[in-house]
């Protein structure tokens, strides 16, 4: 996938970019614009949360007290660490340190999977506490259902984004490892921006879901 004039251009350059530097900048610009759309996507949920919290503050306090802050805190630490490994991966890619870059990408994906595993345990715990919405919902008053609805939807949508991120990180790690795509900063930077965004979303969700009831 190199540019027309055979062999004279840098490997890894995609059409229609004239230089790798411009391509890297372009990928960054594109990813930031995409993140703007993601911010608006989560905003719908945050607005819903804000409206219902302002209407039913007491019910939210009661409901939020049932979230498992231990799992939440562990997950926060996991995700922050994964952002660290992602940053190192990006620096390594820029400096063309193959082993470090690919290793850190894998570590990032592994930490992401750890987050999902902890989340799975937490979801199971929520289920045994009767916090699945429906006929067997354990809490009164009825407005506590609104908090827990938001919990399931917000953490669910976040988890879907995280899963997509894990798959992308693993994919580029494999592409780099097998030299299908040359190790380069532009690809890694785009993925890193996205990964940090998913982390930031969690940093907003954590206080709203775990710290409000306490």
């Amino acid at each position: 996938m190199t540019n027309g004039a055979a062999g004279t251009l840098e490997a890894g350059l995609q059409e229609p970019w004239p230089t790798r530097a411009l391509q890297r900048e372009g990928v960054g610009v594109g990813m930031w614009i995409f993140l703007a759309s993601e911010v608006l996507f989560f905003s719908g949920l945050l607005i819903t949360y804000a409206v219902y919290r302002s209407l039913y503050a007491e019910a939210f306090r009661v409901a939020a007290a049932r979230t498992d802050i231990v799992y939440g805190a562990i997950n926060t630490m996991i995700l922050l660490t994964s952002s660290l490994t992602m940053t190192v991966a990006l620096r390594a890619a820029t400096a063309q340190l193959r082993q470090l870059a690919i290793g850190c990408l894998i570590a990032t994906a592994a930490l992401g999977l750890a987050f999902l595993a902890v989340k799975g345990l937490e979801y199971y715990g929520d289920y045994t506490k009767g916090l699945i919405l429906g006929a067997h919902f354990a809490l009164a008053p009825p407005e506590t259902q609104l908090f827990w609805m938001l919990y399931w939807v917000m953490t669910g949508v976040h988890a879907i984004h995280l899963t997509a991120g894990i798959l992308i990180v693993l994919t580029i790690a494999i592409l780099f490892e097998r030299r299908i795509v040359p190790l380069q900063a532009s690809t890694t930077e785009g993925v890193a921006i996205y990964w940090h965004f998913v982390d930031c979303v969690w940093l907003v969700l954590f206080p709203l879901l775990y710290l409000v009831g306490r």
């Binding site: 039913y56 503050a57 007491e58 019910a59 009825p142 407005e143």
Partner: protein, 317 residues
């Protein structure tokens, strides 16, 4: 059915809206006419091959003219906004002492309850020259009461009250219909708005089959549903006294102070933990699913009758 049942302006408000409408039609007509004439003239004069003069336009022409027509457009639009808003603001405050009629909308019919207890299906009798306030709720999906002759409509929501008020000035039978898509028979959810002279309204009310007025029915429900078990002086359960509560301020446990209007009373019955009164525990059970929409109307009428200020129709919706 004739077109008059739609197009007659049956109130002063309707007349003022018609005036605004025709103002806009005239303004729009002039603008469309002007634009059309300009286009036609340009097409003729500047068609390819014609001998019209085509030198460059002077710079100052473009800057000044642009600012000029921008400002003119802005002022025109602000004028229209002002005219429309004043019509709207005038109609904003509900008239005091209005005759309150309850409307319950459901797929695909209208249930009307007059304060005298008279019930109607798909027909709304109102007296002319009398302020009328419709308190409306839905039993299922969102509907909308549309009264073309009054130039009014309002969405009707489940588990909430919305309001429409008017003073009709023309007697007659007019169209009433649903204007928010609500399913299969949305287009046949129609009825009649019957505006009669006040004395005819009184005669009509008296001629209806006897039924207790709403407040008396509500009092009976207050006992049969068990409300009086807690909400009477001497009850072992600590519950707020409801005498005089309607229309007055209530101090809530979370520090807020609210007016006890219909919405508040209704929520207190259906969602009792939403606004806990200061000094009380959240122990009241919810009557959601127990009291029907019609029964709620009657309970509210009873509670209002317990207040010495029953004529104060709620400070806000």
């Amino acid at each position: 059915m004739s077109l008059d049942q739609f197009t007659t302006a049956a109130s002063d408000y309707a007349h003022s809206i018609d005036r605004l409408f025709w103002l806009l039609v005239i303004v729009s007509g002039l603008i469309v006419g002007l634009v059309s004439v300009i286009i036609v003239v340009f097409l003729a004069k500047y068609r390819r091959g014609s001998k019209a003069k085509r030198s460059e336009m002077p710079e100052w022409l473009s800057g000044e003219v642009e600012i000029g027509w921008t400002a003119a457009t802005l002022f025109l639009f602000l004028f229209i906004f002002w005219w429309a808003s004043t019509r709207e603001l005038i109609a904003l405050t509900p008239p005091p002492g209005a005759l309150e009629i309850h409307v319950v909308a459901k797929q695909w019919m209208w249930r009307i309850q007059h304060p005298s207890g008279v019930r109607e299906i798909d027909e709304l009798h109102v007296p002319s020259d009398t302020p009328v306030r419709l308190a409306m709720t839905s039993e299922d999906v969102i509907h909308d009461l549309y009264l073309p002759a009054l130039r009014l409509k309002q969405d009707i929501l489940p588990d909430r009250y919305t309001y429409l008020w008017f003073t009709a000035t023309k007697t007659g039978t007019f169209h009433l219909t649903c204007a928010e898509y609500c399913g299969t028979d949305h287009s046949v959810m129609a009825g009649k708005l019957v505006i009669v002279a006040p004395q005819d309204y009184a005669r009509w009310t008296a001629a209806q089959p006897q039924g207790d007025d709403l407040a008396h029915q509500g009092e009976a429900l207050f006992r049969s549903l068990g409300c009086s078990g807690c909400h009477t002086p001497g009850s072992s359960v600590h519950a707020p006294d409801l005498h005089g509560v309607y229309g007055h301020l209530v101090q809530l446990a979370d520090g807020r102070t609210v007016v006890a209007n219909e919405a508040y009373l209704r929520d207190s019955i259906l969602l009792p933990n939403k606004d806990i009164v200061a000094g009380y525990s959240p122990i009241m059970p919810s009557f959601s699913g127990v009291a029907t929409a019609g029964q709620l109307v009657e309970l509210l009428a009873y509670l209002k009758s317990l207040s010495s200020d029953a004529s104060r129709d709620g400070a806000q919706q």
